[in-house]
């Protein structure tokens, strides 16, 4: 397994989503990128919808330290313990899974395991996964802390990067969305404005 793409480890899990902690502070995958869990017979695919960085102890909030520093980088250099006291996490909404080389665009039978490794998907995997727009249905119906149109447009922008002709991919995706969101034209137009190139 290519370790350079390994982004973190699952620390909280449910059928519909999971939270992974990054190995290094602030090293989360970009919003909307496609990630997967590995090492199990069933590989879960998901889209990154949120990222946070906070103190490792819930009751202990970070304090401002930069009064005498000239740059933000300087704070971390003078207080090297910070990288151990803080942690970055990202949340992933599960959008499908792979079993026996087949990709399914619906929820897996079981959730991810705690400590499961989370990897960024390769360009090939993204292409294979996005052959069907089934994941859009899951994103539209999800109730997340981030606005749905933001998440959908971010994920489509991310996925389109791996295509030689991103325009036709986005056009096809837009048409699919137009069908799915035929009852909500405002949301449709808001997404379209965010994915146009």
């Amino acid at each position: 397994m290519d370790n350079t793409k390994r982004m973190g480890e699952v620390i909280e899990t449910s059928t519909t989503e999971f939270v992974a902690q990054c190995y290094d502070l602030y090293q989360f995958p970009p919003l909307g990128s496609l990630v997967k869990t590995t090492d199990l017979p069933v590989e879960l695919y998901g889209i990154v919808y949120n990222a946070t960085t906070a103190s490792i102890e819930p009751g202990r909030r970070p304090i401002a330290r930069g009064k005498d520093e000239v740059s933000e980088k300087g704070i971390y250099e003078t207080s090297p313990q910070l990288s151990q006291l803080l942690r970055s996490e990202f949340s992933v909404i599960v959008t499908g899974y792979r079993k026996n080389e087949n990709i399914y665009h619906y929820l897996p039978p079981q959730p991810a395991h705690i400590h499961g490794f989370v990897h960024l998907c390769s360009a090939e995997e993204i292409k294979t996964f996005s052959q069907s727009f089934g994941f859009l249905t899951i994103l539209i119906n999800a109730h997340l802390s981030i606005p749905t149109d933001e998440l959908i447009s971010a994920s489509l922008r991310k996925v389109s990067e791996v295509y030689e002709d991103p325009h036709s991919f986005l056009l096809a995706a837009g048409r699919k969305l137009a069908m799915l969101l035929s009852g909500d034209l405002n949301q449709l137009q808001s997404i379209l404005r965010k994915i146009k190139r």
Binding site: Q131, S132, F133, H167, F169, L170, L171, A172, G174, R175, L177, A178, M179, S182, G183, L185, L188, Q189, L192, R193, I195, K196, R197
Partner: protein
Amino acid sequence: MTEGNNLNKLGIVVSGSLNKGIEVRLDSATSIEDMVVGRYVTIQGNKRRFLGMITDISLGVVDQRLTLTPPDISDEFIADVMVGTSTYGSLHVSPYLNIGGNIDQILEGPQPVKTIPPHFATVNMASEEDMELVFGKEDDKRFSIGNPLDMETKLCINLEEFVKRSNGVFGKSGTGKTYFTRLLLIGMLQKSKAVNLIFDMHNEYGWMGTREDGPPVKGLKQLFRSNVAVFTLDEENSRRRGVSTDAVVRIGYEEIEPGDIALLQDTLHLTSLATEAVYSLRRIFGRKWLEKTLNLSDPEETKKILESSGIHEGTLQNLQRGLNTLNRMPFIETSPPTKTVEEILNYLDRGVNVVLEFGRYRDITAYILVANLLSRRIYAQ
């Protein structure tokens, strides 16, 4: 992600009925501007294939709000996405024939439709082969009348079958109704045994025809000299146009029967009582009823006749006014030298086609009178 590779696919059936036709929703890849009314399409059902014609084209939106607040179509991407998804084109197709299906249906050949395709059946452009299957190839009996819109296939009709039925040529002005009718007549003269009697109200079929964009075209007499006789109601007009006519139509007063007047009731503004009175007057005066009715001037005699027949005076006046309209037509004479009706029938019996030119008499009264007079006599014989 990829749409059907079938280049001819237009869309899918979304609703419809046998009577009112089928509603087809166009695929987003199909441009509505490429659709033309009158074009043939095939619809692939589960068990059979249907041939139909596009009769209407319309635009639709999935959400009416789009028509109130249209999307920002200055943005090319948004326009590309919306067209064909949120907004769409639709076709109205009238199904005409079943073509193909199982072996039995193929052997039977094209049959009139008795059912419609199911929901979401694929609609394609009719191919050249489909048209050939329906219209056949040109041969001894089939006559080529042109091509379908934007197609190379020849449309052939079986004229022997064609003349057995009642047919009409309809179309908007300037679309070639006259030209097409002449083509059908030429075909009938060439390939069928039918003899035609043509009431040529605008003098277009006998000697020379007009065309909206181009020089005049040859009429039937010029093309088939020995097979066509031209009769005219208006000799002077025909002579001026340089038409060689075979006979001049003259109608005697005695040839006009009460039944002919009954058909002219509306055109001559006759009351129903006046139409009834015609029959009484025919009984009283005999064959010369029309002439005698018009010449009734002696008040004593008039009174006597009115009393004996029970006709009101006003009714007689109404009738006389109407009959005077006929009297003013120069081709109606007291005692014409020849019996035109018989002459025309003689020609038709000999297998000669007759074109009856109306010359200047283009008003509906002359047309209804002459057409009815002749067709009633022909039918009676």
